[in-house]
Amino acid sequence: MNLWMWLLLSCLLAYAWKLLGYLVPASLLRDPRMSRIAGTMTIGLLASLTVVNAVASGQSLVLDARLGALAAAGIALWFRAPFLVVVIAGAAAAAGLRLLGWD
């Protein structure tokens, strides 16, 4: 139930961001700093989420099969594979490495 509450609040806040763009005066758009922060934060958050999911396990850092998934995804992206192929490559690499005994 607690998770539901944070989840629904997230939905509300996501819509609030979107709607805010339609309600604020257009002059704010001419302030490049806000859109710059929105952009750098997008990059920072996605980089952070990539790393956390690759090497964090609770509060410790571990090197396991997920690192293989990161490498496989990087290679797939380099060859301009579509998003879904990238995701499948990541899953296949992690599953394959575990089959080979590297956890």
Binding site: W6, L20, G21, G39, L61, A93, A95
Partner: protein, 269 residues
């Protein structure tokens, strides 16, 4: 679709000749399809079917949805998940300002437009130069992705629930790949790569010292600081996951000089 008095323009044959509608439809399919991976990862992160559907129906912003389940999967709290998802959603406010300036929706349409204001609908619209095409592109991509994204989220959630042990299928690896896939299109040039590296390092340094989920918020703070104090492109990082106009600037993709949104002219015949 074009919701104004352009009823004559809405004849089926004519509408399919519109470049914006064509691009909007193809981007809808490409983006909608990867809703499968969101649905599957969400249920294996510990959310149930309806929580997963609530995210796709109500939050409806791919990056934020993946962020929410990514934090939950890593053992983070609900409030940390909300923080990451909300900070990642800030750019949609910028997109809202752009679309509001271009389309100027009025009445209930403004509230509907806000809900489907995401990377892809904005990119499809701003890639066109003719106002009618901008409007068609926005609504085709926005509504098309909304329908397909939710449909494929449900498919993925049902499939994911049937998989059993997620680790055996490498689904934790799939999550890593998904985040790298969301980040990748935004790394055009040296500067965004540097921002990504700094934030990744900040994350790694923070992991042992703060509760799960919080390192992501630390990275967000670092990124906001970089944005506040440095000067660079004001649309850095504001790129769609699936680029509607990829074929028009495919050659610039790894060009360190980067390519700018304004270069996208679409094929407005």
């Amino acid at each position: 679709m074009g919701l104004d008095s352009d009823a004559a323009e809405l004849a089926p044959v004519k509408i399919l000749q519109s470049p914006a509608v064509r691009i909007g439809l193809s981007i809808s399919i490409a983006t909608g399809l990867y809703g499968v991976s969101f649905g599957a990862l969400s249920v294996t992160s510990g959310l149930d079917f309806w929580q997963t559907m609530a995210l796709s129906l109500l939050l409806f912003s791919g990056g934020s949805q993946f962020a929410f389940i990514g934090v939950v999967a890593g053992g983070g709290s609900g409030v940390a998940a909300m923080g990451a998802a909300t900070l990642l959603g800030m750019r949609n406010g910028i997109y809202g300002m752009q679309i509001n300036a271009l389309l100027q929706p009025r009445g209930w349409r403004r509230f509907a437009a806000a809900h489907v204001t995401i990377d892809e609908s904005t990119a499809t619209s701003t890639g066109q130069t003719d106002p009618l095409e901008q409007k068609r592109g926005f609504w085709t991509a926005g509504l098309g992705i909304f329908v397909l994204w939710n449909l494929f989220t449900a498919v993925g959630a049902l499939a994911g629930a049937a998989l059993g042990d997620p680790k055996q299928w490498g689904l934790d690896g799939a999550a890593v790949a998904a985040f790298l896939g969301l980040l990748w299109p935004r790394l055009k040039g040296r500067e965004p790569v540097a921002i990504a590296v700094v934030c990744a390092l900040a994350t790694v340094l923070a992991v042992p010292f703060v509760p799960p989920g919080v390192p992501i918020l630390v990275a967000a703070l670092v990124a906001a600081g970089i944005g506040w104090f440095s000067h660079g492109r004001s649309d850095e990082g504001l790129e769609p996951d699936v680029d509607p106009y990829a074929e028009n600037h495919v050659h610039h993709h790894h060009d360190p000089a980067g390519d700018h949104r304004g270069d996208r002219t679409g094929d407005d015949a």
